[in-house]
Structure formats: structure tokens, C-alpha cells
């Protein structure tokens, strides 16, 4: 009895297992597996190849990152669990590499003084300082030189204007040398030395640039240096760098410049050597945004206009788009396809080009709008601060309503007809049906898109830059901003325009913008509850 009782389930279990096995074997089909092997193999090939190169160049950080990511990807795809990871990983890798890394980079820069005068590393700054401090002695003769290789040293062989040939290297001042043979009156070779051909010179450019032949045993006389391998002049350097004490000394005045810790060499009297270099400055960029008088005011003013601009843009495009969608939602209407195709044109047209075209259309004296549509009126569309704002909003309406039109059209069509039919039977008017049934349903589906459109407009750099460039300029602020500047175009100007570019400050602004947009969007999502259904 016991056995018979046990036997039945066991039999069933065996049958089931067999079925599962068959199913599983059917499941593991050959072709998909081959494709998977091929793709992963390709990926690993690239990965291992880059590991070799990274190791050869000793980029260890990159090496470790590639190694970890590579192992992770293989683990994810050879693992039976973590199905979600298999679907998310490809997109996430691109997201991390190209978007999140850029965000982190900006985050890092926001804490530095990266900008004009602090543009590179300390080494680069020292090199640049040495390059610029090298001054040709004003009455220096032109020395025709040949570059020689004597033993291990590079030497200059010089024929002076008096016809006397001399030789010297970085350690040995210029002196008359024996065994100089001359050709056509110019000395060209020295016994024990090998004359470098021009090609040799080019192959050893950087070594030759380092050669400084003292003119005499007195260092005050300066050194012979060449920058073309054929002629040399007497140079003196006005700055000396001492690596041990990490100081720059002016050889003429004796003034000592020390690393101030703020990315430049500064003298005791406060004089700063330019260029400096990039250093971490902590929170000072953020402090400047909020605590300096000449920045906080403009920032808040631009912020206000940015919010106005984005909100009005979203509202106007949505209202126009929705209205048109309702108008064209009647199946009895003919030629809807034609209308639809025309209405989509502003969206299809490359937007950076349309903004330029609009700038032409809105020209005060010669533009199409004033000249033709308004019969010669001189409306200062882009010159008056108020009208420029209105013009920006109109152009953005033109650019943006087709998208909303499409979106609303789709949303309206997906609302089941039965809902409005039954409401109609209950005696609801067309307006009531729209107000209480269709619109709420529509809003549920469109709210996330409205929020992302808001975020997009918040950062709508192209439109502002191409249409008004932020203008008309408002000089009252002390910053280079205009009436139509939104935050992102202001950030662009701080980072890339003029001679006082401040990339660190711009990055701090970018982080703030990001926080603002993210906060507004998060609130928006919460309010619309559009993501609630995820539960």
C-alpha cells in the first residue's frame, strides 16, 4: 500500500521531469546560443585586447575597471539567475560610460578652479612659465649652428660673424675647438663628433630644444638656444624654477614666488604668475553662487525666467497640441492625414536650423513678419527685453506643439469609446465628458511626458543660443547675461565665452540646475502618481 501510494507520485514526478527535460532541451536551442557565444566572444576579444594595451601603457585604473566590467558581464550572461540584469546591462553600460561618467566629471570639476589661467596641471603651468620667461637678449647676433653628437652629448657648432668656429654643449661654455674642418666658409664637422642631418635633428627635436650652451663661463651672458635646429640666439630666462623648494625666482628682481595652494605661484607682495594650474577649491564655487552679491542676484533672476519659460512652454504647447488633437479626433473629418502631415513639419525640421530661420523672420526692419505679415511695422521682436521673451515663447510653441499634438492624439485614441458612450447615455454634455472623463485619463498618461518636456525646456540651450544668444544684453547685472538667458545658456557663457571662462563655476551651476530639475520632476511624478502603478 505504501509503495503504491508512493509509486504514483513518483511516476508522475518522473513524467513531469521528463517533460521538463524535453522542454528544457528545446529551450536550449543551438542558434541563439551560438549567437550569444559569438557576441560575448567578440566582446571578450575586445576586452582582452584593451586589457593588453592598458597594461602595456600602465593605465592600471582603467585596466581594473575593464577587467571588473568584463568579468561582471560574463558572469551575468552565463548565470542562470538575474534575468533582469541580462536585459538591463547593455543599456546600462552605455548609460554609465557616456552619461553618468560625464555627470561625475562635472561634479568633480565643480570643486576645482578649472578655468582661464587654471587650465592644466602644475607641470604644464611650469613648462609654460619657463617657455614664456625665456627672453632673447635684445642685441643677440644670429648664430648659424650645426648640431653635433659628441660622445653622449649634443653640442652646437657655431660659426660667428667673425668667421671663428666655436663649439659648446650644455655643460661646456662655447670655446674655440680643435679639429674643425670647414666647408664653404662654414664649419661643418669636428673630429670625434658626428654632425646630425636635418632628419636626425627632427628625430631628436625635444633633446635639442633642451640644449643650452652658455656663451661664456659667466652665466649673466646668457645661453645659446635654438628653436629651428639651424639658427641660435642668446637667451636669458627671467624665471628660475627650483624643484626642491617648489619656488619660482625672478632672476632680475630676485622676487620669490611660492605655490599659494590656490593653483598659482604668488609672491610675498601678492603678485601672481600666469598661467596657474587646476586645484581643488572645495565648496568655493558653490559659495560664490549663493554668497556673492553680484552673482546671487542674476542667478535668481535667470532662475525665475527659466522656470517661467519652461512652464509656459510646456503649458502652451500642451494646450495647443491637445486642442488640435481634439479637433482632429473626429473620424468624420476629411483630410485629417494631410493636416497631420503639415502640422508635424515644425517638428520634422531640424530645430537648430529653424531657430536661425526665426531669427531672420523676426528681424525688426527687414524680417518677413514685420515687413510682410505686419505690413512694415517696426516691432522690435528681439530688441525689447519683454518682446524678446514673448518671441522666444512663440518660437518654442511653434517648435514644440507638434510633439504634444502627436502625444495627445495617441492618448485620446487609446481612451475606450465605451466610457464616453455610457456617459453620454447618462446625459453628460460633450464638455463634461471631456472635463471629467477624458482629460483626467489623458493626464495620467501624459503627465510623465509633460514633466520630461519641462526638464527638456529647462535645458533648452539650442533655442536660446540660436535665436537670441540670450540677448538683448542686460548690463545692469555686472554679468554677461541678457533678458532671455536661461540658466543653461548662462552656464555656457560662464564656461566658454569671453576671457574669464570659469569652468569650475559653470560645473557648480550645472550641478545646481540638475538638482533643481530633478527635484521639480520628482515632485511632479509624485503628484501625478504616474509611477504609483508600478507597485
Amino acid at each position: 500500500m505504501n509503495t503504491s501510494i508512493n509509486d504514483e507520485p513518483r511516476k508522475n514526478a518522473i513524467v513531469r521531469r521528463r517533460a521538463e527535460r524535453v522542454a528544457a532541451m528545446a529551450n536550449v536551442r543551438t542558434w541563439p546560443l551560438l549567437i550569444k557565444i559569438f557576441l560575448l566572444g567578440l566582446l571578450d576579444a575586445l576586452g582582452i585586447y584593451s586589457l593588453f594595451i592598458l597594461a602595456a601603457r600602465r593605465y592600471w585604473l582603467a585596466f581594473i575597471i575593464v577587467l571588473i566590467v568584463g568579468l561582471l558581464v560574463n558572469w551575468i550572461y552565463w548565470n542562470n539567475k538575474g534575468l533582469a540584469a541580462k536585459y538591463l546591462t547593455p543599456g546600462l553600460i552605455f548609460l554609465v560610460v557616456f552619461q553618468i561618467s560625464a555627470i561625475f566629471y562635472s561634479g568633480y570639476i565643480a570643486f576645482t578652479n578649472y578655468g582661464t589661467g587654471h587650465n592644466g596641471t602644475k607641470e604644464q603651468a611650469i613648462t609654460a612659465l619657463m617657455q614664456t620667461s625665456l627672453t632673447k637678449v635684445s642685441n643677440s647676433d644670429t648664430y648659424k649652428i650645426s648640431v653635433l653628437q659628441c660622445n653622449d652629448k649634443l653640442s652646437f657648432l657655431v660659426t660667428g660673424s667673425d668667421g671663428v668656429s666655436k663649439i659648446g654643449d650644455s655643460d661646456t661654455p662655447l670655446h674655440v675647438a680643435d679639429g674643425i674642418s670647414s666647408e664653404n666658409g662654414e664649419s661643418s664637422s669636428v673630429s670625434g663628433c658626428q654632425t646630425l642631418s636635418f632628419n636626425d635633428v627632427l628625430n631628436r627635436q625635444n633633446d635639442i630644444l633642451q640644449v643650452k650652451v652658455p656663451l661664456s663661463s659667466n652665466p649673466e651672458d646668457g645661453t645659446l638656444q635654438t628653436s629651428d635646429g639651424q639658427t641660435a640666439y642668446v637667451f636669458k630666462s627671467s624665471l628660475m624654477y627650483d624643484a626642491k623648494s617648489d619656488t619660482m625666482t625672478n632672476t632680475k628682481t630676485g622676487m620669490v614666488y611660492r605655490d599659494s595652494g590656490k593653483g598659482s605661484f604668488v609672491s610675498a607682495t601678492g603678485e601672481e604668475l600666469v598661467p596657474g594650474w587646476r586645484v581643488n577649491v572645495g565648496l568655493s564655487n558653490f559659495k560664490r553662487v549663493f554668497a556673492s552679491n553680484d552673482m546671487t542676484g542674476p542667478f535668481l533672476r535667470v532662475l525665475l525666467w527659466t522656470i517661467t519659460f519652461s512652464v509656459v512652454s510646456v503649458a502652451s504647447t500642451f494646450m495647443v497640441g491637445l486642442f488640435l488633437a481634439i479637433v482632429f479626433n473626429d473620424p468624420r473629418m476629411r483630410g485629417r492625414k494631410v493636416y497631420r502631415s503639415i502640422l508635424i513639419l515644425p517638428y520634422a525640421f531640424p530645430s537648430f536650423l529653424s531657430a536661425l530661420v526665426w531669427a531672420g523672420l523676426l528681424n525688426e526692419k527687414f524680417g518677413f513678419i514685420n515687413q510682410v505679415l505686419l505690413h512694415g511695422a517696426d516691432v522690435p521682436w528681439l530688441q525689447s527685453p519683454t518682446l524678446a521673451k514673448i518671441a522666444v515663447l512663440i518660437v518654442n510653441l511653434w517648435l514644440g506643439f507638434p510633439y504634444m499634438f502627436l502625444v495627445c492624439m495617441g492618448a485620446l485614441q487609446s481612451i475606450p469609446e465605451e466610457l464616453s458612450e455610457s456617459a453620454k447615455l447618462d446625459g453628460a454634455s460633450a464638455w463634461e465628458i471631456f472635463r471629467y472623463i477624458k482629460f483626467p485619463l489623458l493626464l495620467v498618461s501624459i503627465a510623465p511626458l509633460l514633466i520630461s518636456t519641462f526638464a527638456m525646456n529647462f535645458n533648452n540651450f539650442n533655442l536660446i543660443y540660436m535665436l537670441t544668444a540670450g540677448g538683448p544684453t542686460d548690463t545692469s547685472t555686472g554679468m554677461n547675461i541678457g533678458s532671455t538667458d536661461i540658466l543653461i545658456s548662462m552656464v555656457y557663457k560662464i564656461a566658454f565665452v569671453g576671457a574669464d571662462r570659469d569652468y569650475g563655476l559653470a560645473s557648480a551651476f550645472a550641478i545646481l540646475i540638475f538638482l533643481i530639475v530633478a527635484a521639480v520632476s520628482a515632485i511632479g511624478f509624485r503628484t501625478s502618481k504616474s509611477l504609483e502603478e508600478l507597485y
Binding site: F98, F349, S445, F461
Partner: protein, 303 residues
């Protein structure tokens, strides 16, 4: 009512009727045409202006105010005959980069949307929300980071460095997960789960379900997202101008803008012609996908 309308015998009151008919027609659909014509005028006049300027031989801002005062295709011909501005190559690059970029990002986005819609995992809700948030970071400043990144890539893989079209496509894939994923996620949710269940019982693996069952069912939203990302790619200037340096590798946005920004005045006509041609692929893609787009957009979120 309809019988009256279609009955020709009552000719005595025909005029009377036609008047009320016009009124009725206007109330029902006529006003819609009125709105349609008005809105088309608003949408269309700048386009008309550009088309007219592109056909105008003089090709200056002032001369373009008289719409279609002269019609010649010189500008279009000339556009393809500038050795330093290889317009044909820009065009081809734009289409290649736009198409491959949008197809790949639709694919990546669809995979992610499938995971969010069908699989249950830790951090799903926060994950979807974060994807949307990350895309809100202002791109203008990312350019320097992207430049540094790609030039380092180029040291290891020259094909992924600066001035590579492939590299640009990869950069665009960085924004494949974002609002578009959300759009797709909504649509995926409308596909009944029973379909997956049935397929699973039939012994299909997840990959098979995704590729052969789900993807065909959600094709409308795939079309929509493909169009949106195609438009975004064609329009993109900032990153493209950083990545693509040599003229024969640039896209229309980069080439055309740099071309006009230098010599705007002389090139107004040429620029207009270029702009008209640049819009053509998008319009074609739109018209091809029109029937999907109307049903595809946002359909998912309303249950």
C-alpha cells in the same frame, strides 16, 4: 435628414437646405477645417518661407520676403558641388548615424522596458525613475567630459576615438535608456501577461518570448521611439560637433551650421536648400510610421 439631403427632387427648398447644410457642416466638421487651416498656416509659413528662399537665386534675407518671386534649383545643384563642404556625405552620414543610432537605442530601450515591465527585481521603481532623472543633466557641459573620454578611448581603440562616426553612435546610445524607456514600459504593460505565461508553458525561454512574441506585439511603440530618437539624432549639434572633426565625417547639423555661421549672408539660399533637404528624411520616416505613431504614443499608460 440624410434622406432630405440626398433627395434631389425637393429642388424648391434646395437653396434653403444648402444654407442650413453649410451651417450644420460647419458646426460638425467645418470649424475643424477652419482651425486646421489656421494652425497649418502657423506651422507652415516659416517652412514655406524657407522653401521659397531655397528656390530664390539671390538668396539673401531681404530678397526672400517676396515668396516664390523666382524659382530656380541652382541652390540645390550648388549644394552638391562644394568641394570643402561635402553636403552629400553629410547627408549620408546623418542618415547612417540616425538610423543605426535609433535602431540600436530602440533595441536597448526595449530590452530595459521588458525587464521593467515583466520582471520583478529590487530597485525597479527607483531604477526607472533614475533613468529619467539622469537624462535631465544639462548636456552642454558634458561635452568636455565626452571629449576627454573619447580621446582616451582613441588611444586604445583608434576606431572609437575622436572623429569616428561609430564613437558618436555609441555616445548617442548612452541616452537610449530614459524617457523613451518609460514610453515603451507603458506600452509593454498593455500586452497581457497571459501571453507570456502561455508561451512559457509551451517551453519558450525568456529570450524567445521577448524576441518572437513581445517585440512584434509592441511594434507601434518601437516605431514611435525610433522616430523620436531619429529626430533627436538629426537635430543634435553639440556632441556631434565635438566628436566629428573632418568635414567628410560630419553630420548635416554640424556641417550646415558651421557653413552658415561663417558666411550667413552669401549662403542664405544655400542654407535654406540644405535645411529643406535635411527635413526630408524625417518627414519620410514620419509618413511611413504615421499609422503606428498615432496608436503607439502613450497608448500604454491608459488602461
Amino acid at each position: 435628414m440624410f434622406i432630405e439631403e440626398t433627395n434631389p427632387k425637393e429642388s424648391s427648398s434646395w437653396i434653403q437646405h444648402s444654407k442650413t447644410n453649410v451651417l450644420r457642416w460647419f458646426v460638425r466638421t467645418g470649424w475643424r477645417h477652419f482651425v486646421g487651416i489656421l494652425s497649418c498656416a502657423f506651422a507652415g509659413f516659416p517652412i514655406l518661407y524657407i522653401v521659397s528662399a531655397s528656390l530664390n537665386q539671390q538668396g539673401t534675407l531681404i530678397s526672400s520676403n517676396h515668396l516664390f518671386s523666382s524659382i530656380t534649383f541652382d541652390n540645390y545643384v550648388k549644394l552638391f558641388n562644394m568641394p570643402q563642404q561635402p553636403f552629400a556625405e553629410w547627408y549620408l552620414n546623418t542618415i547612417i548615424i540616425g538610423l543605426s543610432g535609433s535602431v540600436l537605442s530602440v533595441f536597448l530601450g526595449a530590452m530595459a522596458a521588458y525587464a521593467f515591465s515583466r520582471l520583478r527585481f529590487y530597485g525597479r521603481r527607483v531604477g526607472l525613475f533614475s533613468l529619467i532623472l539622469v537624462q535631465m543633466f544639462p548636456q552642454v557641459l558634458s561635452i568636455v567630459a565626452i571629449y576627454l573620454l573619447l580621446s582616451n578611448f582613441g588611444d586604445v581603440f583608434p576606431i572609437l576615438g575622436i572623429n569616428s562616426r561609430l564613437a558618436l553612435i555609441l555616445v548617442y546610445l548612452g541616452s537610449a535608456l530614459g524617457v523613451n524607456t518609460y514610453l515603451m514600459y507603458g506600452f509593454f504593460n498593455t500586452v497581457p501577461k497571459e501571453i507570456d505565461e502561455a508561451a512559457k508553458i509551451d517551453g519558450s525561454g525568456h529570450a524567445r518570448i521577448f524576441f518572437t512574441i513581445i517585440l512584434p506585439l509592441v511594434s507601434p511603440i518601437l516605431a514611435v521611439v525610433a522616430l523620436l530618437s531619429f529626430i533627436a539624432t538629426v537635430n543634435e549639434y553639440a556632441v556631434a560637433s565635438t566628436v566629428l572633426v573632418s568635414p567628410e565625417k560630419q553630420t548635416l547639423a554640424v556641417g550646415l551650421y558651421e557653413f552658415v555661421s561663417q558666411k550667413f549672408s552669401q549662403n542664405w539660399g544655400l542654407f535654406s536648400a540644405g535645411a529643406v533637404l535635411a527635413a526630408v528624411p524625417v518627414v519620410i520616416v514620419f509618413i511611413c510610421l504615421q499609422k503606428y505613431i498615432v496608436s503607439g504614443l502613450t497608448a500604454g499608460a491608459v488602461k
